[in-house]
Symmetry: C2
DNA sequence: GGCGATTAGTAAGCATGCCTTATTATCTGA
DNA sequence: TCAGATAATAAGGCATGCTTACTAATCGCC
């Protein structure tokens, strides 16, 4: 008896998988010499996906606190990869846009993440990749849905 | 055209899934009031899985640097959840064992991670859970294998 | 019009995880 | 016996993401 109950294996699997994947993406981005941290790259990708969003909306979409996003945007802006414009309809709000210079960077980010993905899913058949993708998507939906206020009550 | 190419969706899915899962486990452990950080909990689980291992072996199994493990063990030891004994066959090495007091804590950690898992996989059928588990396991194997330098060989 | 409540963004500071580089003690093998 | 490898550790660094608190602007409502 090795204390090898399935639950514990699955919990570790989740935690390890999550951790390792993060690490690989992190390292791959670093090796790419883009000067982007994973969070910055992720932010860039989301800005590209939802152009002309407000910061609050972007943060909600990314599932991070607004404050966390501010830090990413600060760094991206100082690299001239995004622009913050004032929302003409609300002077408190800002609209985030991709800077033109960001386009090639974005392509390279995609290249990097694609490579990580390929390595992680090396011997998977295409339908297995799709299956994994579908399951993960459902899992993410469950996770984000199960958090009401964030602190919850 | 929403720049909605599949690659980028999958990359974000991987990154987001990894991040969110980590966060949930983190928060669940904190709410449980065990006074354990995720890393500590993970370490505890691994010590239980491979009792009487050396630190180096444990670190390799956990896929962290030895130095990272030292920090976790320091904290676990100061809480009397693990014990470090000298390896009788090598005075440099130490054998890590679970302290008797750790057993109930470990059970509660399992409870917490099981709950996170249940919430994340809410509407999954049992065979889907198994499928996900199998795919993740293969992915983890790919990831750890693809690291030449330190990931063991 | 004006006052309170809410909202957008931000400042500051903290904990965690994980790494890297370097140090000390010990072991091993030629 | 002595060089080189190995086990654990010390010290320090960076990124992530959070929380709490503050400012400015807007909205709701009388």
């Amino acid at each position: 008896m090795l204390t090898n109950r399935p639950e514990e294996t699955f919990g570790l699997l989740l935690a390890d998988g999550a951790r390792l994947l993060r690490l690989r993406i992190d390292r791959a981005l670093e090796e790419a010499g883009l000067g982007l941290t994973p969070g910055e790259a992720r932010t860039l990708a989301y800005v590209a996906l939802s152009p002309a969003s407000r910061q609050t909306a972007l943060a909600a979409q990314m599932n991070v606190e607004p404050m966390t996003l501010v830090a990413f945007l600060d760094r991206l802006e100082s690299r001239h990869l995004v622009v913050r414009e004032q929302d003409p309809t609300d002077r408190r709000a800002k609209i985030v846009r991709l800077a033109p210079e960001a386009q090639p960077i974005l392509e390279r980010v995609h290249g990097v993440t694609r490579k990580v993905q390929e390595r992680a899913l090396q011997n998977f058949r295409p339908e297995e990749v799709e299956m994994l993708q579908a399951l993960l998507k459902r899992m993410r939906a469950n996770i984000t849905a199960s958090e009401p206020g964030r602190g919850q009550e």
